[in-house]
């Protein structure tokens, strides 16, 4: 510690942090409170700061039955769709980008740098920019309303390739040379040495991409029409904008709370590896 430990230096950072946490956490808490009341209380503006008596009822209904008016699917199946989508995107991205980075860093082939720059440039073309051509292709391939259609266009990832490339460049060449002398072929070097060393990078990328996949809105909105293929993010929006019935706010809020859980669980369970993967320099 550089500074002297006085009242100010101990208390002030805590106050700042507590205020920061409160600002972020309060709306989430309010959403939780709303998810435990009945619609009448919310609509009448009588919602207090204390949770109400309808917690179990609301969550049970939304998870297994669904809302009455807007969506007919229960949230459990939406969560399942979102989970499949997020996992496929995260895992697919990791597999594709680790192999493309491996090729770019460890193999000498014609137009290696050109290809690298082409991958790099796709950073400037996120789904939103190329949405119409991508939609056309996916529609022509008959992949609308399917998991493949939901995930494949989002899997190609320049970010992942770059992250792995940067990591591979820090792995000393001598490790590759030692592997060569130890009679390990290129793919064996990948499996026995590079992959175990990349574990923290993989974890970091998994966390980022899982959340990216889970939070997708525009693409699933376009590509899914069937209720059975709906993701939870789309589900929440449909619950909030209803045509002629009252919005069932307590159910929308309960869904939002449920939607928060998987990303939070992923972050908490992989936090250690995640931070290590982003900051670790010692090999």
């Amino acid at each position: 510690m550089v500074e002297r430990r006085s009242f100010i230096t101990v208390i002030l950072p805590h106050i700042i942090l507590i205020v920061g946490v409160a600002i972020v956490f309060f709306p989430v808490y309010l959403a939780f409170v709303a998810s435990t009341w009945d619609p009448a209380t919310i609509v009448n503006g009588q919602l207090g700061l204390m949770p109400g008596p309808y917690l179990i009822e609301n969550y049970q209904r939304i998870l297994f039955t669904g809302t009455s008016s807007s969506t007919r699917e229960p949230v459990a199946s939406m969560m399942f769709n979102s989970l499949i989508m997020a996992l496929m995107i995260a895992i697919g991205k990791i597999i594709i980008s680790i192999f493309s980075a491996f090729a770019i860093v460890y193999y000498r082939f014609p137009f290696r740098m050109t290809l690298f720059w082409i991958i790099f440039i796709t950073l400037m073309l996120p789904v939103e920019v190329r949405i119409f051509p991508t939609y056309k292709i996916v529609a022509d391939l008959g992949m609308l309303d399917s998991y493949t259609g939901l995930t494949i266009p989002l899997i190609a990832s320049a970010t992942g390739t770059l992250l792995f490339r940067q990591f591979f460049m820090t792995v000393p060449d001598e490790l590759l040379e030692a592997s060569k002398i130890d009679a390990a072929g290129p793919l064996q070097f990948f499996r026995d040495t590079l992959l175990p060393l990349s574990m923290t990078t993989i974890a970091a990328l998994f966390v980022i991409q899982f959340i990216y996949g889970w939070n997708q809105y525009l693409w699933p909105l376009l590509i899914t029409t069937k209720d059975s293929m709906q993701t939870i993010v789309i589900g929440i929006r449909k619950m909030i904008t209803t045509q002629d019935a009252l919005t069932e706010w307590q159910l929308a809020m309960a869904t939002a709370m449920l939607a928060l859980l998987p990303p939070v669980a992923v972050v908490i369970s992989m936090q250690k590896l995640f931070v290590k993967g982003l900051v670790e320099t010692e090999k």
Binding site: P172, E174, L175, E177, A178, K180, I181, D182, A183, A184, Q188, D192, T193, P196, L197, K283
Partner: protein
């Protein structure tokens, strides 16, 4: 075990840089050859070509009589110790040593036996279950050597293995490597820029400069009879003194106004030469013919270094503390005949015996 023969080895990098310019020498079976030279002289490149990590542009590299130019590193029957150890960070010491054997489909009990044997030789038995991260530099270096030993290769290749260690440990590991070589008698090639390592370890020193061999010989030959100005100044610390002179006639060299009797070989009169002598071979005496104007003194403990000028040229003398006063401003000395080395100033090659 095997001998290593290099014939007209050249390395030209794409882009035209010639790192190694035609190298010829042979290392006998069981020999310890040290490649020494300043950084960028091509010694590491040469070692890596023998290992198979760099392609050989031209020439022949034979290990045990077998031409290995096109052979994969794994099939050359060599083992290499790297400067930064290159241990697999995620594997235990045991697995680091066993990895190469497993890849060669060695039976598991044979691996256990060999690793145990190597661990015993290197005194790393207590660390077999640790990861390299939990080891000190010297211990990592031992593991790296262990990884080489378990393979029982025909040739050991060392690429500056001690330069990441601190000075004390370096001396210690140097002795260990020497002992190891004495007991295993495996042909070894060792690259270093440290002349002390080169002198102490080698049976055979190859002094390299700018991609060429300057001299090949035993440590004693290289030290006592340097073939060129480069070798004379590179080997030995402090470096050899060189004085400008001219051949005055057969067996006579003129330094300024003084004429010295030196073997001039076949050099014609008027040839510009450099006369070399080692700082510790000058004999201090009150009646000495040469006079050094001392500018400063370095205290080393067992001896002192007197830096000064002799007829306008920088000269260093090394003498034990009792031989002269630490504050002496003028030292008289003689150079014994056997301590004189004569070099052609233009070609840099040695003249005479």
């Amino acid at each position: 075990m095997a001998d290593v023969t290099l014939k007209d080895i050249r390395k030209v990098y794409p882009g035209g840089v010639e790192a190694v310019k035609g190298i010829n020498f042979a290392i006998p079976d069981g020999g310890f050859c040290v490649l020494v030279g300043p950084s960028g002289c091509g010694k590491s490149t040469l070692l890596r070509m023998i290992a198979g990590l760099e392609t050989i542009t031209e020439g022949e590299c034979r290990i045990g009589g077998r031409l290995v130019n096109e052979v994969e590193p794994a099939d050359r029957d060599i083992a290499m110790v790297f400067q930064n150890y290159a241990l697999y960070p995620h594997m235990t010491v045991y697995n680091n040593m066993a990895y190469g054997l497993r890849n060669r489909k060695t039976p598991e009990d044979e691996i256990r036996r060999r690793v145990a044997e190597a661990a015993k030789i290197l005194a790393i038995e207590p660390f077999l279950d640790r990861k390299p991260k939990a080891l000190s530099g010297g211990q990592r270096q031992r593991v790296a050597m262990g990884r080489a030993i378990v393979r029982k290769p025909q040739v050991f290749l060392f690429d500056e293995p001690l330069s990441n260690l601190d000075a004390k440990l370096r001396v210690h590991m140097r002795v260990e490597i020497k002992k190891l070589h004495t007991s295993l008698k495996v042909t070894s090639i060792y690259v270093t820029h440290d002349q002390v390592e080169a002198m102490t370890l080698a049976d055979m020193i190859v002094v390299m400069s700018a991609g060429r061999v300057e001299q090949i010989g035993t440590p004693n030959e290289v030290y006592s009879r340097p073939e060129s100005i480069f070798v004379a100044t590179f080997i030995g610390s402090p470096a050899m003194n060189l004085l400008k002179g001219v051949v005055a006639g057969p067996g006579a060299v003129k330094l300024g106004e003084t004429v010295l009797r030196v073997d001039t070989g076949g050099a014609a009169a008027g040839t510009a030469v450099l006369l070399g002598f080692r700082p510790d071979e000058a004999v201090l005496s009150k009646t000495g013919a040469a006079r050094l104007d001392v500018s400063f003194v370095e205290e080393l403990g067992p001896s002192r270094l007197y830096h000064g000028t002799l007829a306008g040229e920088e000269v260093t003398l090394q003498a034990p503390p009792h031989a002269a006063d630490a504050k002496a401003s003028l030292l008289c000395f003689d150079i014994p005949d056997r301590a004189m080395h004569l070099f052609d100033a233009t070609s840099g090659r040695r003249i005479g015996a």
